[in-house]
Amino acid sequence: MRLAYTWVCILVTVVAAAGGDVLIALAMRRIGDLGELGARLGIFAVVVRIFSSGAFLSGISLMAIAFFSNLIGLSWADLSLMGPATASLTFLANALGGKLFLGEDVDRRRWLATIFVCAGVLLIARS
């Protein structure tokens, strides 16, 4: 039964982490290059701009859900299961999210990179 709970945690972690990643990426894209903005406006103004972004705050909320779901999962299962399972599935979910919600050009090169990284993470975890 604990294995079933673990996989529920993995699923919640993956969905929340991917949703959080997409929203944070959207916020950062809208705000602009943080290095250049920091040099031009100062770090404080950049921090204010980040924390007044609705997309960023929603993304962080989803990340918090993913974080605690991951912590609960880690108390039931080893990092060697939780880490690779959540990471590899989140890679795939993010590639879909980047394409569907951010309009990124996920061409063959990026799909191949995503699939290779997923496969690599799974091999490291299962050996």
């Binding site: 709970y5 990643d21 997409v22 944070i24 990426a25 959207l26 950062m28 894209r29 809208r30 705000i31 602009g32 290059d33 943080l34 290095g35 903005l37 980040i50 605690f68 912590l71 609960i72 880690l74 108390s75 039931w76 990092l79 880490g83 690779p84 990471a87 890679f91 993010n94 590639a95 999210g97 980047g98 394409k99 951010l102 309009g103 990124e104 050009d105 996920v106 061409d107 090169r109 990026r110 191949l112 990179a113 995503t114 699939i115 290779f116 990284v117 496969a119 690599g120 993470v121 799974l122 091999l123 490291i124 975890a125 299962r126 050996s127």
Partner: protein
């Protein structure tokens, strides 16, 4: 890509795995959390290893957000997958763990994936950049 951008991505790769390892150690000390007492997970935040893990993950997160401000999500995520390779090398060199042939194969796949994506463009989907440009223009008025 400039040296600054390489360093930003490198920070994600270094601080992320260290934070995960600290969290794992902390949660093993805390013990299993009962399904009927899920709120006990908040008590774990007082554990020193968890605090160190959170600090390291915050550093990784700040670098990650900076990377997302100049590169696509579908570029940053595969590129920062080198963190898994780091974790295996740390386990091998510092902890003396054996790395099997299959695990070397996994490392090779990740490196190939990272190399593939790194040769592509940092940023695509420019219509969203236009949204930010127009938002900034409105702010400056």
């Amino acid at each position: 890509m400039t040296l600054r951008k390489y360093l930003v991505i490198l920070s994600v790769v270094v601080f992320g795995p260290i934070g995960d390892a600290f969290l794992a150690r902390g949660m093993k000390q805390t013990g299993a959390i009962d399904v009927s007492h899920l709120t006990h997970v908040f008590a774990a935040v007082a554990n020193p290893w968890i605090i160190l893990g959170i600090a390291s993950l915050l550093a990784s997160m700040a670098s990650y957000m900076t990377a997302l401000s100049f590169a696509d999500l579908t570029y940053v995520l595969p590129a920062t997958a080198l963190g898994y390779v780091n974790m295996v090398f740390i386990a091998h060199l510092w902890l003396g763990e054996h790395i099997s042939v299959i695990r070397w194969g996994g490392i090779a796949l990740i490196v190939m994936g990272v190399g593939w994506v790194a040769r592509g463009p940092l940023r695509t989907g420019n219509h969203l950049v236009d949204v930010s440009a127009s938002a900034e223009q409105q702010e400056s008025r």
